[in-house]
């Protein structure tokens, strides 16, 4: 049986690759979504717009491997309990930036010009559009890979998390394991799908379709080490220009959760982009569950054994 399943010689490991998605550069054009769907032959999602935004794909799924989120922070929305900008607004910054020393080459600053503080009605609040092209995070220690019972999910030679479609039997465990809700099991073929980081293109030395198509270099592809350095430089650059909110999501391990090989530069709390602030590593609670389960089992086994034996000795006395 083992030889029947024996795989071919594993390819030689390459430097780990990943994505650095800089949301301050995203213009929401969805070129990445379309390029991804086209290259990977994924079906369209229809035109079910999320509220008044341009988001028709809503989330990542088995048929959407790049998803452009349209976070719209309007001061008015603050009043009716929508997306709040409190805790994130630094209007003084933006106002001074808007009139200040920005070069035309920084697309993010264009957004801040749309509404200025005085026109917004709510003093100190400005409208923000935070576009973000989301993707599988290709976790360095991926819960989906750890969960997969068939070994369908593995790390390929680029240390990308890859689902082998000829192995997956659609058990759905990875769907529940991923803390970012990336994978889903598609109805049409009963298997789990997600971003392959364009494994096929990488093997031929090509850039993944989304990064290739992105017109603003919001999606950058390359060796992860290099991307991380570049990203940290970029955060420093933005901070230096007064965008104090810029930070990296997933560039390094955080407690029990590993670093993400596809990580992000964000300017708002993770929840606004539908990301968990601090994902739990599903495996973290496993050990304790096994331990307490085993202890309970042994205790009940001992109690049952005692009850069974007691009945026996009682009978013998009676007999």
């Amino acid at each position: 049986m083992l030889t029947f399943f024996k795989s071919a010689e594993a390819p030689a490991p390459q430097p780990a690759t990943g994505f650095f998605t800089d949301t301050t550069l995203c213009i929401g054009c969805k070129a990445c979504e379309v390029a991804c769907k086209q290259w990977n032959q994924l079906p369209a999602d229809g035109f079910d717009w999320a509220a008044t935004s341009y988001d028709n794909t809503h989330c990542l799924s088995g048929s959407t491997w790049r998803h452009v989120a349209f976070v719209e922070q309007m001061p008015a929305a603050n009043l009716n309990g929508g997306h709040s900008t409190s805790g994130a607004g630094s209007p003084g910054d933006l106002a001074s930036n808007g009139s200040g020393d920005y070069t035309a080459g920084a697309p993010y600053q264009g957004v801040t010009h749309l509404t200025d503080a005085s026109a917004s009605g709510a003093a100190g609040q400005v409208a923000r559009w935070l576009m973000m092209s989301d993707v599988c995070k290709h976790c360095e220690q991926a819960p989906c890979e750890e969960a997969c019972p068939t070994g369908a999910i593995l790390y390929n030679e680029f240390h990308n998390v890859y689902v082998q479609q000829d192995i997956c039997n659609g058990c759905g465990y990875c769907v529940s394991a991923c803390p970012f809700g990336v994978l889903s099991r598609t109805e049409s073929d009963g298997r789990a799908h997600k971003c392959t980081l364009c494994y096929d293109r990488q093997r031929d030395g090509l850039t993944p379709a989304c990064a290739k198509a992105c017109p603003t270099a919001s999606i950058q592809f390359g060796p992860v080490d290099e991307l991380r350095q570049r990203a940290r430089r970029r955060v420093g650059e933005l901070q230096g220009r007064g965008e104090q909110r810029a930070y990296l999501y997933g560039d390094q391990a955080a407690g029990e959760y590993s670093a993400l090989n596809a990580f992000f530069l964000l300017t708002e709390r993770p929840e606004a982009y539908n990301l968990p602030a601090a994902p739990r590593r599903p495996r973290a609670s496993l050990g304790a569950n096994y331990l307490f389960g085993a202890l309970t089992g042994l205790a009940l086994l001992a109690f049952s054994a005692w009850s069974a034996g007691k009945g026996n000795s009682g009978n013998q006395e009676a007999a």
Binding site: M1, F5, A50, D55, H58, C59, H83, S86, G87, A88, G92, D93, A147, P149, T150, C168, N169, G170, C171, Y173, V175, S176, A177, C178, G181, V182, A192, V235, Q239, Q244, R245, A246, Y247, G250, Q252, A254, G255, L266, R269, N274, L275, P276, A277, A278, R280, P282, R283, A284, L286, N289, F292, G293, T296, G297, L300, F303, A308, G311, G314, N315
Partner: protein
């Protein structure tokens, strides 16, 4: 420029070099606002449905019966021999639908055997597949011998009753123990907030399995109209103790889960949990009181009515176990739809500081 930043004051003092040196910034207090993205859950709906709820129930019955049967056979002497045989019969019968349910649940059922193409004990589902397969083998062979000894297998009974299963029966014990507990670990090893927040879920399933096994045996014996004080001396305390432990661990699980566990006790699911609790309490009323609650039939003789009370008690206990598993499995979907609870499950903590960034301060 820095002066006008009330909301991010915690960050304002950090210069560029400090920020690049410490790109990981841990929020110090709970975030002030509830951010969310168009009320779209950020987790995916678990794929598990009724098949898995029934599977969790049946595998508990099967493994519980197997363990009690083995102990009764080993330690209970001759008066327990019959109980041991009935237990092994029930264990295998309860096991039989399990693989079918699990295979039906797959997106690609014809690839079920891929579960065993690797040995990957770090994956609770892979480990469970091996444990289930092993258990099936041991439960099957012990069943043949026990049912043969019980005279249930027609002309084959006699030869089968002579099968040398003593060692095999014992070898199945670790597998049966694994069966009682891995379901909880399976749920805990996910990102679903109501399942992954506590160390107690496996213990809930372990104690539930012992209880279900005992209840199932009481039901079967009552249906066969067989009663023996030695059997009750084993089954009654085990059933009661296990149910107490199960409720205790469930309480600990809910407590530990905090806000993230909310979908488990709210609305419909809360009613279901209450139902399971009520059924558990009712099953403990005892056959005497239970039979009085049943619709009275003039013709019934006293022993017959006590038997009806016993059946009712066992059914209530089994019903409670089933309802609890049904609720635990189905609340997974409610949990991911409760976005605030999902975020509560991934709040930055010491163990998981996350990548909160500036906005989180």
């Amino acid at each position: 420029m820095m002066a006008s930043q009330p909301a991010v004051s915690g960050q304002a003092s950090l210069g560029v070099s400090e920020l690049t040196a410490h790109p990981l910034r841990v929020p110090t207090a709970a975030p002030p606002t509830e951010l969310n993205y168009y009320n779209i859950p950020f987790l995916k709906h678990p794929t598990w449905k009724w098949e898995i709820a029934w599977y969790f129930f049946l595998e508990g019955v099967a493994s519980g019966c197997y363990l009690l049967g083995t102990l009764a056979g080993r330690l209970g002497g001759s008066r327990m021999r019959h109980l041991r045989n009935v237990a092994h019969e029930m264990a295998f019968l309860a096991f039989l639908p399990c693989p079918i349910l699990l295979i039906k649940d797959l997106g690609r059922p014809e690839r079920f055997y891929h579960m065993l193409r690797v040995f990957k004990p770090g994956s609770p589902m892979n480990l469970g597949s091996w444990v289930l397969s092993g258990f099936g083998g041991f439960a099957g062979i012990t069943f043949l011998q026990a049912a043969g000894e019980d005279g249930k297998l027609g002309p084959l009974s006699r030869p089968l009753s002579r099968l040398p299963v003593a060692a095999l029966e014992l070898a199945g014990v670790p597998f049966a123990l694994g069966m009682t507990g891995y379901a909880g670990a399976l749920l805990a090893g996910t990102s679903v907030p109501i399942w992954n927040q506590s160390p107690w879920l496996s213990a809930v399933f372990v104690s539930g399995a012992f209880g279900s096994g005992a209840s199932e045996l009481k039901l079967e014996l009552a249906l066969r109209n067989q009663h023996n004080s030695a059997w009750s001396g084993l089954l009654d305390p085990v059933e009661r103790g296990s149910k107490l432990l199960e409720l205790l661990f469930l309480g600990l699980h809910l407590k530990r889960s905090g806000r993230a566990g909310r979908p488990l006790w709210r609305r419909r699911r809360g009613l279901m949990l209450l139902g399971a609790l009520a059924a558990t309490v009712a099953s403990e009323l005892g056959p005497g009181r239970l039979q009085r609650l049943l619709p009275a039939k003039q013709s019934r003789q006293a022993p017959e009515r006590i038997r009806a009370g016993r059946i009712a008690g066992a059914l209530l206990a089994l019903g409670a176990a089933w309802l609890l598993r049904w609720t635990l499995v189905h609340a997974g979907g409610d949990a991911i739809e409760d976005i605030a609870a999902s975020h509560a499950a991934s709040r930055p903590s010491h163990a998981a500081p996350g990548w909160g960034g500036v906005g989180a301060q």
